[in-house]
Every structure is written in C-alpha cells, then in structure tokens.
C-alpha cells in the first residue's frame, strides 16, 4: 500500500522567483479549482479537528467554542482527572488486550484458511466457499449484532435452545462479561476472515510452481511443502499486515463494540474500549474534559505507533511502507 508522492521532474529548472510561483498557480487555476472541493472538505473534517486537539487543555464551554474557551486551571486538569479514573485505565487495557487477541487469532485463521483453500483443486468448490466466507464482510456490524442476538439471547436464542434440549441450564450471555473476549473474537473472525484471506491467497498463487515440483520430486509431502515453501513465502505479507495492525492497536473498532455490546454496562469490565469510553463521556455523560483528554492521549499514541510501525515496515521491505 504505497502512496508515492513522486519526485518532480521540474527540479532541474532554475530556481523560482515569487512571481514565478504565482504565474504557475494562475496558469494552473483550473487544476487548483478542481482540487478545491476536496481541499475544503479535508480542511473542515480533518484539519480543523487536528487544531481542535487543543480542547484537551481547555475548560470547554460550548457557547465560547473550542478556541474561545478558557484554558484549564491548572493546564493539565483534564488529564489529572483522567489519570484518577479507573474506567479510563480499564478502557486502555481492554483496547490493547482485545486488539492483540484479534490480531493473533486473525493471523491464524486467515493464513490457515488461505493455506487450506490453496490445497483445493476443484474450481467450483473453491469459488463457492470463497463467496460464502467473503459475504459477512459486506454487512454492517449492526446486522452482525442482530445475528449475535439471535444466537445468544436468553429466551429464544439458538444456542440456549440447544443447551436446554441437552438438559443444561441456559446461559445469560449478555450478563457474563468473562465470555465476551471470546465472543467478540469469534464475531470478528466470522465477519472478516474471508476478506483477510484474499491477500494471502493472492500471495500463495503467485508462488512459482517449480518450487513445489522440485520439492515433490525430492519426495516432500504436501505438509512439508506447506511448511517449508508456502509459509516462508507468505512471511513478508504476514509481517507487513501484522505491523500495520499493531500500528492501529490503540484504535478500537467503535462500530463493532457499540453494535455488539451497546449500553450493556454489565459487560463493560471486559468490553469497554477507548473509543466507546470517549463516546460515552462525550454523548452520554457530557464529560467533555475527560473525553477530550482520553482522545488526545489516544491520538498521540496512535500517531507514534503508526510512524513506528511504518518505519519498521520500511526497513523490512521498502515497497510495503505506507509512506
């Protein structure tokens, strides 16, 4: 996923005088005008909020706005407040642990399914199963939440019906916080495994067949071929995708958590993440100081992580860095 900013071929020209700059801009005014709508939208929805990060150091007053509000007294007041909050600590911990769990299990599922699909020779079977596993990627987390509810609700959920017909007591999933890391992991796997498999499958099909032919002449079994040829060939892809995911470890998928867990406070000990915590502080309790301080920390850490993971990715393989 490389975004090339590209080197200008014009650099050989003589240094520009300021009126040369203006002339160039005027000459290309149509091009500038075509960029203008996007520039304006990015300014409003991306650049302004960046400047708005300053709100974390303010005592925000809606009528005075972000920039007109008074500075917090003392300046780190919102952060002091944040540090004493147990639920903020819990949200950070949950975000990192759950994301780490998603990344690890995801790797096993996605590489595993790609390797298995790669063994399939029947074109139709392959195509149909790929279509089926890719399908959940296209529906919203809200709908996944409905599916989960159908399976897990206490009275009529399919799982509880089965449990009861076997003679056991039904499980109240929506009040058992301990089960939710596993439930959420399964939900993510269900939704995006098919999608995640595609890139690995593409990498597998691009492996030169002569490696396998040579190996099988030497008497290597399919299992040995997978272990000694396919997996090593996938390693760069695995590294890069994992690095990029680690770069986003502070950012939880709000859509998933809010659709699956919602306002079920009983589940918060294991499912409340930074994004849901900030959302609740902002929209439910109206605690903007706390929300902005938490968001500030998240933005800064996320930025450092993205830069760091990109740096590592670039060291490993120049083409796989984002920038």
């Amino acid at each position: 996923m490389k975004i090339v900013t590209g080197a200008g071929s014009v650099s050989t020209r003589t240094r520009l005088k300021s009126n040369g700059v203006i002339r160039e801009l005027v000459r290309n005014r149509t091009i500038l005008l075509m960029f203008l709508p996007a520039a304006a939208l990015l300014f409003l929805f991306n650049y302004l909020p960046l400047a708005g990060l300053v709100i974390a150091f303010k005592n925000f007053d809606f009528s005075k706005g972000i920039f007109g509000s008074d500075w917090a007294q003392p300046i780190m007041n919102n952060f002091d407040y944040l540090l004493t909050s147990d639920s903020a600590y819990r949200a950070v911990r949950n975000t990192i642990l759950l994301n780490a769990l998603f990344i690890a299990v995801g790797l096993v599922f996605e590489v595993g399914l790609a390797l298995l699909l790669n063994e399939i020779r029947n074109k139709y079977f392959k195509r149909i199963t790929q279509s089926l596993t890719f399908l959940p990627f296209f529906i919203s987390w809200i709908v996944v939440g409905v599916f989960a509810y159908n399976l897990m609700n206490f009275e009529s959920g399919a799982i509880n019906r089965i449990i009861q017909s076997l003679g056991f007591a039904p499980i109240d999933f929506y009040s058992e916080a301990g089960l939710w890391p596993a439930i959420l992991t399964l939900a993510v796997r269900w939704k995006v495994t098919g999608y995640g498999t595609i890139i690995y499958l593409a990498a597998l099909t691009s492996i030169d067949n002569s490696y396998y032919e040579a190996a099988s002449i030497d008497g290597a079994s399919r299992w040995q071929q997978t272990w000694y040829i396919s997996l090593p060939m996938l390693k760069p892809t695995i590294m890069i995708l994992t690095l990029l995911a680690v770069g986003r470890i502070m950012n939880a998928d709000f859509g998933m958590f809010y659709a699956m867990v919602g306002d079920a406070a009983l589940l918060f000990p294991t499912t409340d993440v930074i994004d849901t915590f900030v959302y609740r502080s902002l929209r439910k309790s109206g605690d903007i100081g706390m929300a902005s301080a938490a968001g500030f920390v998240q933005s800064i850490v996320a930025f450092v992580l993205v830069l760091a993971s990109n740096y590592v990715a670039r060291r490993a393989d120049k083409d796989s860095a984002i920038f």
């Binding site: 996923m1 490389k2 975004i3 900013t5 200008g8 160039e24 290309n28 149509t30 091009i31 075509m34 960029f35 709508p37 996007a38 939208l41 990015l42 409003l44 929805f45 991306n46 302004l48 960046l50 708005g52 990060l53 709100i55 706005g65 972000i66 399914l113 298995l116 399939i120 079977f125 149909i128 279509s131 596993t133 890719f134 399908l135 296209f138 529906i139 919203s140 809200i142 709908v143 939440g145 409905v146 509810y149 609700n153 206490f154 009529s156 959920g157 509880n160 019906r161 495994t193 098919g194 595609i198 399919r222 919602g262 902002l282 929300a291 902005s292 968001g295 998240q298 933005s299 984002i322």
Partner: protein
C-alpha cells in the same frame, strides 16, 4: 495420484472449509427464516433454520404499518446515492489534480491529502466542529459530508490516472481542450474500472453507516435504516439489563415483534445480497490493486 486425492487429509481440509463456509451462511438463513415465521413459533421454538409455518405478515406490517421504516429506507437510499455521486466527483477531480504532471506543485497537493491519513484529531474535536461550527446536527448532510473526501481513495484513483500515457493529455491539449474538459471527457471514461470499484466501496460504506447517524441525528424522521435497526435491537437490550419488572411489562407491550425485526434486517441487507456478485468481483479486484500498487 488418484487415491491420494481422497486421502484423509484432503477430506479433513474439505470438511473444515465447508464447515466454516456454512457457518458464514447460517445466520443469514436464520434471519430470513425468522422473518417468515409467525411470532408464536419464535416464542415457542426459538429461531430455526426453516420456518414451521411460512407467513408474510411481518413484511406486510413493515411496508404498510409503519411509515417510519419506509422513511428510514428513503433516507438511506438518498444518503447512499447523493453521497456516492458527490464523493466520486470530488475525489476523482482531486485525484486528477494530483496526477497532473504539468502542474509543478502537485506534490504539495499530495502532501496536503496524506497528512489527513496520518494524523487524526479524534472524536471529540471532530464532533464539536461538526455540531457547533458546521451546524450539521439533525441534518441529512451530517451523514453525507464528513466522509465525502477520502484521501485514501484519492490516491488509488491518482495512481490509476498516473499510469495513463501522458501523450493522451498532450494531444487533447493540442486540440484546444481545457483541463476540466480533458478530465470529464477523456480521463474519466478511461478511469471507469477504478471509479466503479471505488464507487462500490463508497456506496457500501454509506449504506452500512450508522455511526454518523448515531452521532448527529436525534430526529426520528431522519434516522437511516441501520440506525433504526439498532434502535429496535437496543430496546430489547435495555429490557434485558433492566431489573425492574414493571418496566419490562410496560415496554414489552410496545416492542415490535421478533419477526418484524428479522424482516427489517432482511430488507437492510437485501440490496447488498442482491448486488453481491458485483461487489465481490470488484472488491477482490480493488484489493489486488491496493495490495500490489495502491
């Protein structure tokens, strides 16, 4: 070799893949079955793969009984169509500008866009700017404008445009065409494959979005379909977490029935299932483009 094809390992592989594929499909079948079941069957026997008695009542109630659902459908369609058209226009024009080799400062445009991928101000300032400064609260634009210009999509389109031969542009210019005309009549038709792929990305995002609605739309008549679905589900969640028996009694009588919820889910995912063959093909293509050179 023939005997090897049906070895135990191979059967195991086929079994695992089949099981996983089926598990991806089953929830969809359960929802369709639930929407066609009678309320009583769901209460008595739970959700099952096949309805015991087929009944179209829930769909009838959905269409005739509540204008709220029809309104939500209309909102979702408007947001998706308007959002996709505008987003494609804005994004592709910006991509054209970033790809224009004759413009000396095009790299400055790219850097301007790339900053928005790297830095993120987070939810709170973004929310306050949308509400206090842009006054998007309870307007349909709140669900269209924020994701309209997407830097990542701009780069995907730009890369495609930069792979076109420069002579094309030169000769059009020679014939006296202006930049906008070259974009509209020459480049856009040639960039159709990438525009179709990204158009599908965008429209899927708009259709599936409920976050913007959740943040900005409190007015019921402006709620998109996905959000309405969430509202119905969370009523049930509220019931579940409520310990007050009186509450449960009171709200249970107003709750939409289970089968109607399932029917609403079916109409929400209907367009996606309908378009799935296209979606799948273009998404795989787009993913490859993104993975290989994006």
């Amino acid at each position: 070799m023939y005997s090897k094809r049906y070895s135990i390992g191979r059967i195991g592989i086929i079994a695992i893949i089949s099981l996983f594929s089926l598990s991806c499909l089953l929830p969809f079948i359960m929802v369709v079955s639930g929407s066609l079941s009678t309320e009583k069957d769901i209460m008595d026997y739970g959700y099952s793969l096949f309805p015991r008695q087929v009944s179209f009542d829930s769909y009838r109630i959905l269409i005739l009984g509540s204008h709220r659902i029809v309104d939500a459908y209309a909102i979702s369609v408007i947001v998706t169509v308007v959002g996709t058209v505008l987003s494609l226009l804005v994004t592709s024009m910006a991509a054209y500008a970033m790809a224009r080799r004759s413009f000396r400062y095009r790299n400055a445009l790219s850097i301007y866009a790339i900053v928005t991928i790297l830095f993120n101000g987070g939810l709170v300032p973004w929310y306050i700017i949308c509400v206090r400064y842009l006054e998007l609260k309870d307007t349909i634009w709140a669900m269209i404008l924020p994701p309209l210009a997407n830097a990542f999509n701009m780069f995907l389109i730009r890369n495609f445009m930069m792979s076109m031969p420069e002579d094309l542009h030169e000769s059009a210019k020679m014939d006296g065409a202006g930049e906008f005309r070259i974009y509209a009549q020459l480049i856009v038709p040639l960039a159709k494959p990438v525009l179709a792929t990204i158009g599908l990305f965008i429209s899927l995002n708009y259709w599936n979005d409920w976050f913007l609605g959740l943040m900005f739309v409190d007015k019921q008549e402006l709620q998109p379909l996905q959000l309405l679905l969430r509202t119905l589900i969370s009523n049930v969640e509220f019931l579940r977490s409520s310990s007050n028996a009186m509450d449960i009694q009171r709200i249970a009588s107003q709750l939409p029935s289970e089968s109607i919820k399932m029917a609403l889910t079916v109409v929400t995912i209907g367009p996606i299932i309908f378009l799935y063959p296209f979606l799948q093909r273009y998404f795989v293509k787009g993913l490859m483009v993104g993975a290989v050179k994006g």
